[in-house]
């Protein structure tokens, strides 16, 4: 009796130093089949939905995607030349080269985690070379980072979790700040900005790359509210994440090439490696 309580207390304490990640990932192997089974009906309905959609709607979607693709390609052309120019200028300045990232598409498992935390389960784990602290993005912005790694699946903390903070900068003027999660699904707090800070509603916050965990330049949030009350020591700034945190079905795992220690290829190209659906 006492032994059990003692051991669990020890675990609680020990966990703060992250020594138990091994035990957790072993146990998560037992949990994964359950998660998989729970996810099955939802995946099945989606599959059914896909296979039963009518010809017209498919054609419509196809046409829309083609238009979008042409548009993106056109934009990409300028991007390529801009990238090359940027690279040349950086070489001239002898500053560090901007790295490009390797990405992998992961799917969310429809599993509910602890209430009042903002976490998700994805179907990629250490088998797919995911690592602890790996950044997750979707098409619109940064989503979060991996906090627990399993073999086949892992748990990621969203940027809106009350325990999460991410270094950001204002895209307009490079003002650095920290965006902290609040636990609410669509709100981030930006604390510790002085009243005089140059930040207004509608400013885009991007990752600053400080801290080395998130690569720089990804959109994080849009400033929604700035209250500059002279009686308060700091400005009260809140922002809304640009990523669709609550609706996303698929997320992108990022491998910033600077942290690519054990990845097999060191060709720092635009290798958008899409994993085979598992």
């Amino acid at each position: 009796m006492v032994l059990v309580i003692l051991s669990s207390l020890m675990m609680t304490l020990d966990h703060r130093q992250n020594h138990l990640e091994g035990i957790r990932s072993t146990l998560s192997l037992l949990i994964y089949p359950l998660q998989y089974v729970i996810n099955l009906p939802i995946a099945a309905t989606q599959w059914l939905d896909d296979s039963l959609s009518s010809r017209e709607s498919l054609q419509e979607e196809n046409a829309r995607l083609k238009r979008q693709n042409t548009l993106f390609k056109a934009r990409l052309q300028t991007l390529q030349s801009l990238k090359a120019e940027n690279q040349r200028l950086r070489e001239l300045l002898q500053s560090s080269k901007k790295v490009s990232e390797r990405v992998l598409i992961a799917e969310l498992l429809s599993v509910d985690l602890e209430p009042f935390t903002r976490q998700i389960v994805i179907n990629k784990g250490s088998r797919d070379e995911a690592y602890l602290g790996q950044p997750l993005v979707d098409a619109e912005g940064v989503m979060g980072q991996i906090v627990h790694l399993g073999l086949f699946s892992s748990t990621a903390m969203l940027i809106t979790d009350a325990n999460h903070a991410i270094p950001v900068q204002v895209n307009r003027n490079g003002l650095r700040a920290i965006a902290m999660g609040t636990g609410a699904p669509d709100k981030l707090d930006i604390p510790y900005l002085p009243i005089s800070a140059d930040i207004v509603e509608g400013d885009l916050l991007t990752t600053s790359g400080l801290g080395g965990r998130f690569p720089a330049g990804y959109p994080v949030a849009m400033v929604t509210e700035v209250v500059k009350d002279p009686t308060l020591p700091y400005a009260v700034v809140s922002a809304m994440p640009t990523a669709r945190l609550e609706q996303a079905r698929e997320v992108l795992l990022l491998w910033p090439t600077t942290q690519q220690k054990d990845a097999p290829s060191d060709t720092a190209g635009e290798s958008a490696a899409t994993a085979p659906p598992s």
Partner: protein, 163 residues
Amino acid sequence: MTHIARHHGGATLLLTFIGALMLQMLPLPEWAQPLRPDWVALVLIYWCIALPDRVGVGIGWLAGLMLDVAHGALLGQNALALAVVAYLAIRLHQRIRVFPLWQQAVSALLLVTLHLMLVLWLKGATGQSAETWAYWLPALTSMLLWPPTFLILRGLRRAYRVR
């Protein structure tokens, strides 16, 4: 978890816990999430009352550990809380057993509240508390769902002669 010959129906026991874990992870719409009853605790309480010599603190602790992993919670917080719940359920099993169903439901309410409170303390101690009243709603829904849970589990226990 010893499999002595006179014990019977271990698989059923295991499956009820697995079922509870799955119900705990089942995706619910955002509004319903705070209402999710504490399934693992309910199942644990039932087995502690029904088979106190078989299911006890150890199994409660293990179930809690799995719950921690499934929830991505701090490893050990549910384990500790459920071990305490199992201990109390076993201490009180002779009384709770003879209660009418609604009084049992109230006992379940108290035990689940204890579980939630212990978890809240542990969370508070590690600096990740959620201070909304909605946190306590699972205790109420657990109480409301105790009678059906009890009847289903008793049916299972008799059908598969879990001893």
